[in-house]
């Protein structure tokens, strides 16, 4: 429901509204609706009086519907909710109602986090997040919030099956790959050789299905970083791909560069050759980068 200026005046008649003052000639003034500017004038007055009441709460709902990015109004709303000891589960419904149209709004996600932290109840959260991800599987706010839920409530069991489903649906979902890294390696004590090996196998399989996909190639680096294993062991895997696959070629540059640093001149030559064909033929958009890498590899080491 939106309050009309008439409703506002009758509900808040005892407070003196504070008009907006942007100076005599503001840049890009907005032609507000009368509903919005009246609501804001009363809002400023209620804040000045530090009034935390039911009617103040209604006013914040009203303004947020006009402008969901109004962080000051959200913040005041939180204070009212906590002061009046309002039903916070009901508040989650309010957020959910707005999320459909504003899935990328910072304030909404932060508000939900503040409420859920206070409630100390995560039972509705994964379902809520899943609904948003269903519409946009790469929604940055949703993933960020999910990681907060995972950590704050120590909720990890559903994550890998969920990621699997997403990657089966779209193996190019880089957010899902990043989340996999977050989940698999959240418990440092659980990292052992068999975990590393199974992640390597999983990733190799995804790459073989769709080689022209940078996400699992990056993930593979992330896995190796967590182990003491060397990228050298990936040489034969990289060679499985046709000689115009830029991802495996980039890996081979790294592998040969490493070997060249240990005095292997053949590897140095090979690395330079791959840089050249990336620069001039297969990955010409990154020509400057591959030439830089080539120069670095060719330079006599100090």
């Amino acid at each position: 429901m939106t309050l009309s200026p008439y409703d506002l005046k009758s509900n808040y008649g005892d407070v003196t509204p504070i008009d907006q003052d942007d100076g005599p000639s503001p840049i890009a003034p907005i032609a507000y609706s009368t509903e919005y500017s009246t609501a804001m004038a009363y809002f400023r007055a209620l804040v000045r009086n530090n009034e935390k009441s039911k009617r103040a709460l209604d006013l914040t709902s009203d303004i947020i519907k006009h402008n969901p990015a109004h962080y000051t109004v959200w913040n005041y709303r939180q204070q009212i909710l906590f002061t009046l000891d309002e039903n916070l589960t009901k508040e989650l419904e309010f957020v959910k109602g707005l999320a459909r149209d504003n899935p990328k709004n910072y304030q909404l996600w932060h508000h939900r986090q503040v409420i859920v932290e206070k409630l100390s109840d995560s039972s509705k959260e994964l379902e809520f997040i899943n609904e948003v991800l269903d519409d946009d599987a790469k929604n940055y706010h949703a993933w960020s919030y999910r990681q907060w839920i995972n950590t704050h409530f120590n909720l990890w069991d559903d994550e890998l099956p969920f990621i699997d489903t997403l990657l089966k649906d779209d193996v190019r979902n880089n957010s899902a790959w990043n989340h996999r890294h977050f989940v698999v390696f959240h418990d440092l004590d659980a990292i052992d050789e068999s975990l590393i090996q199974s992640e390597i196998n999983y990733t190799k399989e995804k790459i073989r299905q769709t080689p022209n996909n940078i996400s699992p190639w990056n993930y593979l680096r992330g896995v190796l970083e967590k182990s003491s294993r060397d990228i050298q062991e990936l040489e034969s895997f990289c060679k499985e791909f046709t000689d115009n696959d830029i991802n495996s070629m980039g890996w081979l540059v790294d592998i040969y560069e490493n070997r060249a640093k240990n005095g292997d001149d053949q590897a140095k030559e090979d690395a330079i050759k791959i840089c050249e064909s990336l620069a001039n033929k297969y990955d010409t958009i990154r020509k400057a980068y591959w030439e830089y890498r080539k120069d670095e590899i060719a330079a006599p080491s100090s």
Partner: protein, 415 residues
């Protein structure tokens, strides 16, 4: 060489699906088709040399918008200093002198948004917010007048910044607000521009940003989350302001950054397997002058003589990015866009033009002067931000010569 005059025919640049068609691939190719149509038109008429920056149209778009916006812009009512900054910064890049009346209107407006407890809100009567304060302070810095500078209550600004600092080194965006890397960058940029940076403001901060660098090499909004072009710029620029960039894995960051340039579109995506977007022309493009400097510094430290100093100069395809901005991201009615066929907005106009400036111009950091100041113990953030200068010999402009826009010295985005 860009994309239109590059070695690979335009028709062979479409993303391959490897027999696995997914949602990401479909969206990607739809976008490629839109850009392809525009590029093809230029190729067919052999018009690459006549590609034009539509200056007048963009100025009209900016100036008419700054006179007033319709009621649907109410969703930006908590971002009023941003609107001011986007417009003023875009005008500045286009080389337009800002009229005294216009400037006075902005300054008076921004002064109304400043709170007595320090910092600027997103509008009248709104809580002070780091992003709003960044926009306000940077807009005032573009004006560069004493009157503009005098608006800022530095003493309370400092107290307010300190109150947002978290024990782990990060910053919340406002009292009761969320944490992310933007906050750190905004806070430091404000502190450097107003000359109120102290060790307390950055204690623990480099370590916190380091935790935001992911296995991919880029930087995410908070530790654990996916690397992202916007946060990567904020993170690296903040590190550079603190003089702590070397804490990051720079070669990994570089590899990630170069991977984001799109082979057919020429512009940048903000994350792998996402779509090209004009605003990353600045957020990702802006990483390169910083990466160039950091790389050069590292090589000097290791006394590796062999690399030519020109070898690590702006390691992205500068012509391709200009092609995207000029051929695909200019709106017919003025203003610039995220991607075709979307309409323009102030945000994308500002950051496409910022990106254009980054692609055309070359700025260098005076490394020798820096080490001299360091020896004298005088290399603080302000000194560091002043060591950036334009290198005219490094200019590279596609299309008409008069497409060249004003050079920006990158690190603070402003000045």
């Amino acid at each position: 060489m860009g994309i239109l005059d590059g070695p690979t025919p335009l028709d062979s640049l479409f993303t391959k699906h490897d027999g696995n068609i997914t949602h990401s691939w479909t969206l990607q190719v739809e976008t490629e088709v839109e850009v392809y149509k525009l590029y093809k038109e230029v190729l067919d008429t052999d018009d690459l040399n006549n590609v034009t920056l539509e200056r007048e149209r963009h100025l009209n778009y900016l100036l008419s918008g700054s006179k007033g916006l319709n009621k649907y812009f109410v969703v930006l009512d908590a971002s009023r200093p941003w609107i001011c900054y986007w417009v003023v910064h875009a005008l500045d890049i286009l080389g337009r002198t800002i009229e005294p009346d216009f400037m006075r209107g902005c300054i008076e407006m921004l002064s109304k948004y400043q709170n007595p407890t320090g910092g600027f809100g997103g509008g009248f009567g709104q809580l002070s917010h780091l992003a709003a304060s960044y926009a306000a302070v940077n807009a005032l810095a573009v004006f560069g007048t004493q009157e503009a500078y005098d608006v800022i209550d530095r003493e309370n600004l400092y107290k307010w910044l300190l109150s947002l600092k978290q024990p782990d080194g990060s910053y919340i965006m406002h009292k009761g607000g969320e944490v992310d890397v933007r906050g750190v960058y905004c806070a430091l940029s404000i502190a450097v521009l107003t000359n109120i940076l102290t060790p307390e403001l950055i204690e623990g901060t480099p370590e916190w940003i380091k935790k935001c660098q992911t296995y991919e090499g880029g930087i995410g909004g908070v530790p654990g989350i996916e690397a992202h072009g916007g946060y990567a710029f904020c993170g690296l620029a903040a590190m550079e302001l603190m003089g702590t960039s070397e804490k990051l894995d720079i070669s990994k960051l570089l590899r990630w950054a170069v991977s984001l340039q799109m082979p057919l579109e020429g512009g940048f995506q903000g994350r792998p397997n996402k779509l090209v977007d004009g605003c990353y022309s600045f957020w990702v493009g802006g990483l390169y002058p910083l990466l160039e400097t950091i790389t050069l510094r590292q090589q000097l430290r290791e006394k590796k003589q062999a690399i030519k100093s020109s070898a690590c100069q702006l390691l992205f395809n500068r012509e391709a990015l200009q092609e995207y901005i000029l051929i695909a991201a200019q709106s017919q009615k003025g203003g610039l866009v995220d991607k075709p066929p979307k309409g323009p907005d102030f945000y994308h106009t500002c950051y496409c033009l910022s990106g254009l400036s980054t692609a055309q111009n070359h700025v260098v950091y005076d490394i020798e002067k820096a080490s001299e100041l360091e020896r004298q113990g005088k290399l603080n953030a302000t000194a560091r931000s002043l060591l950036w200068a334009e290198d005219v010999s490094g200019r590279l402009v596609i299309g008409k010569e008069e497409n060249l826009v004003v050079c920006k010295r990158s690190i603070l985005d402003e000045k």
